[in-house]
Symmetry: C2
């Protein structure tokens, strides 16, 4: 396989996401090459200033010559990460016209020119992939284009702007007013110095235009989507909403209604127990309703570093198209998984015991656990039964080894004062 020509990738842009994508593609090239059965090679990175070093990217790969890469017949995949409308659109068109697959994270480009660019991809029989344009690393574009395709989608409800969700979460938790919460978000880097694009709902509108177009198979123009930001919300509104049993969220909503599609971005009162009401901080979540699936929910980090996951997934999918033929070996056939025995698990344990209600019993149990290097985090004595002179003990341990716990419990069970080990349950801190 090593003798086959590598799949060549050109990156347009090396800003935050672009530099990260380049670094990871290079750092993990062996892993990705094995997955594909063909080397995956970064052929060049188009930047404005080649003298500025990019961590993990060889300076020799940096170039200002976009046309050179876009017209290079050896380049198979073009990854557009400029983050602006132009020259992104023109370069994407040029790449596709030259028969190259295109991957983009550009929500503005896809919201404004998506249907036209998808048509061009179709004409040239290439892929145009844009998983990273909505929801950062959360898989949502591919699910809409593939996994949910059997459905008539009736509604999308989404939290797709991390900045506003962070601000609204702060307003909810701390009773802060909008201006204060925004200021803090800016200090922490969760909001831009000029936050208008986020807090006025424009960013969410771009993303909703993309999601709604895919879900309803018709181009939804962002200008046709009603938009209202979060700037008018006050601490009082959050207090009253909570009293009434509601949370306040900025939702992007699109649904089929009589006569067409209703699409809107605005603050909503959402019942406190609705799944989206519990999505806090910079997390994103997209809920899709369809005739077959019912309701399905995708949740995760909506921006920043995880975006790299989506961009590279698209690169790998495009590389698969370049290679063609056999589907890749997702499960290696010759390397069996090495499973670690349960005895080696290290976690915390909940232990419930029934013991004779007399002094010194806990000390004996604690000693046996201690001998096995299991330390106790907390003990609660519960429900003394006068008739049988027994009491129930609930012990939470610190982290311990499963084998030690099992052995210690065997010893504990033999104590004459221990009537029964009622249950022991492993703890999973997440």
């Amino acid at each position: 396989l090593a003798s086959e020509r590598p799949v060549n990738v050109a990156l347009l842009g090396a800003g935050t996401v672009g530099a990260e994508v380049g670094r990871v593609l290079i750092e993990k090239r062996d892993v990705y090459g094995r997955q594909l059965g063909r080397p995956l090679n970064v052929a060049g990175v188009v930047v404005r200033d080649t003298s500025k070093p990019r961590e993990g990217i060889d300076a020799g790969l940096l170039t200002t010559d976009a046309a050179g890469l876009l017209d290079d017949p050896e380049v198979d995949i073009v990854v557009e990460l400029l983050g602006v409308e132009q020259p992104a659109v023109d370069w994407m068109k040029q790449a596709m016209s030259n028969g190259k697959h295109v991957v983009t994270a550009n929500k503005e480009v896809m919201a404004k020119h998506g249907p036209q660019l998808l048509a061009l991809a179709r004409e040239n029989a290439v892929n145009l992939l844009f998983e990273a344009s909505v929801g950062g690393g959360i898989p949502i574009i591919a699910p809409l284009r593939r996994d949910l395709l059997a459905n008539d989608v009736s509604a999308i409800s989404a939290i797709i702007n991390g900045t506003t969700n962070y601000i609204l979460t702060a307003m909810t938790r701390e009773g802060a007013d909008f201006a204060d919460a925004l200021k803090r978000a800016q200090e922490l880097g969760y909001a831009e110095p000029d936050p208008a694009n986020d807090v006025e709902g424009e960013d969410a509108r771009y993303k909703l235009a993309i999601l709604a177009s895919l879900a309803f198979h018709a181009p939804v123009q962002r200008d046709d989507i009603y938009r209202e930001g979060i700037t008018k919300l006050t601490a009082r509104d959050f207090r009253y909403a909570a009293e009434l049993g509601y949370a306040i969220k900025l939702l992007a909503l699109a649904s089929r209604v009589d006569g067409g599609i209703q699409a809107r971005v605005h603050p909503v009162l959402l019942p406190a127990d609705a799944p989206l009401a519990k999505v806090d901080g910079v997390l994103n979540a997209i809920q899709v309703e369809g005739d077959l699936i019912g309701r399905v929910n995708f949740q995760g980090p909506g921006a920043g570093f995880p975006t790299t996951s989506a961009v590279i997934a698209d690169v790998l999918a495009a590389a698969q198209s370049v290679i063609g033929g056999r589907p890749s070996a997702y499960v290696s056939e010759d390397a069996p998984a090495n499973l670690v025995p349960m005895a080696e698990l290290i976690t915390r344990y909940y232990i419930r015991l029934t013991v004779v209600d007399q002094p010194g019993v806990l000390a004996q149990i604690a000693k046996l656990l201690g001998d096995a290097k299991i330390s106790i985090a907390s003990v609660i004595q519960k429900e003394t039964h006068e008739a049988s002179n027994t009491a129930e003990l609930v012990i939470m341990t610190h982290e311990a080894r499963e084998a030690s716990v099992q052995d210690a419990l065997k010893a504990v069970e033999k104590l004459p004062e221990v009537q029964e080990i009622g249950n022991f349950i492993r703890v999973e801190e997440q």
Copy 2:
């Protein structure tokens, strides 16, 4: 396009899922045909008893002759929905050896024979798709095979058995003991008459073997996965867990640890505010952690009718492979979306006003709203300000039309007793 040969699909099995998949494929054949640009045709359905009618499936399609379909060169895609190990495995092998794509919902087959079958698919350059084998309609197999492929997955934590999650939810909410909760689940059809496969964690173990194999790119054998069911849990454990700040869930867990992979299915104490702790009833949820993505969460109905969504998504993906060439037109280029104006939105409204604190003001406001056919669901009078002689009113309306609300608020604003309309926020009941 109509003159092109249709893509032919053969179904093996017409039990609950099989009959549903057949019915929907036939009912929505025009929609799916448009999406593919080629007709999608059900060529035959293999059943044991052809005399038993299946709703929505022409009796002429039913046959007992599996070999006839498996060897028919006109059949492109074979959908295996037998729900048992044999003859499913043999028929899948035969189909792939004959160059047909195979779609299956069979967790047992994929857990036991997945790596071998995937290798056979690779040899024959066909797709083997099994989205429906885990998590019902929730997209999780395709995300692991594609969208998250750029990641080194470090851990999977999943609620992938609806029966046990239903029982545990009932035990949590009602303080019920296991036997009672199981009995009720059986009465409601959420548990089988013989529930062992679910309540002993075997079903979850099959599914975890599939997920872990994909996530770690190595065959994880189900027998190597530690398994413990929920039968020993008591109402007392739930009470103590709640007191300590934990929920109890049956989790399927797989993670990379020193020396290999740890994989296990057993009840766990989970912090009450962990996302998986809030997944209740028959819902499923799968959480994946990776080096690029951080943590992402997929949630939805894990069984029953939604499974049809996953099976047909795989059929459509396989059909796409049959057709080859151009990617499908996900967004129609010529049919613009018909967006309904915001004025036509019908929803409930939260309205906050500052009014002069004197008798009769609310009556005047209520009259103006009533004239516009907006009825009030509740009113709270808040924070009277003695100094300014004003009070704050919070009104929740019943469903009303946006245009009417906007008009009515203009009239309300003109009342001399109304000092300010502080905010109005739309309500989204979900």
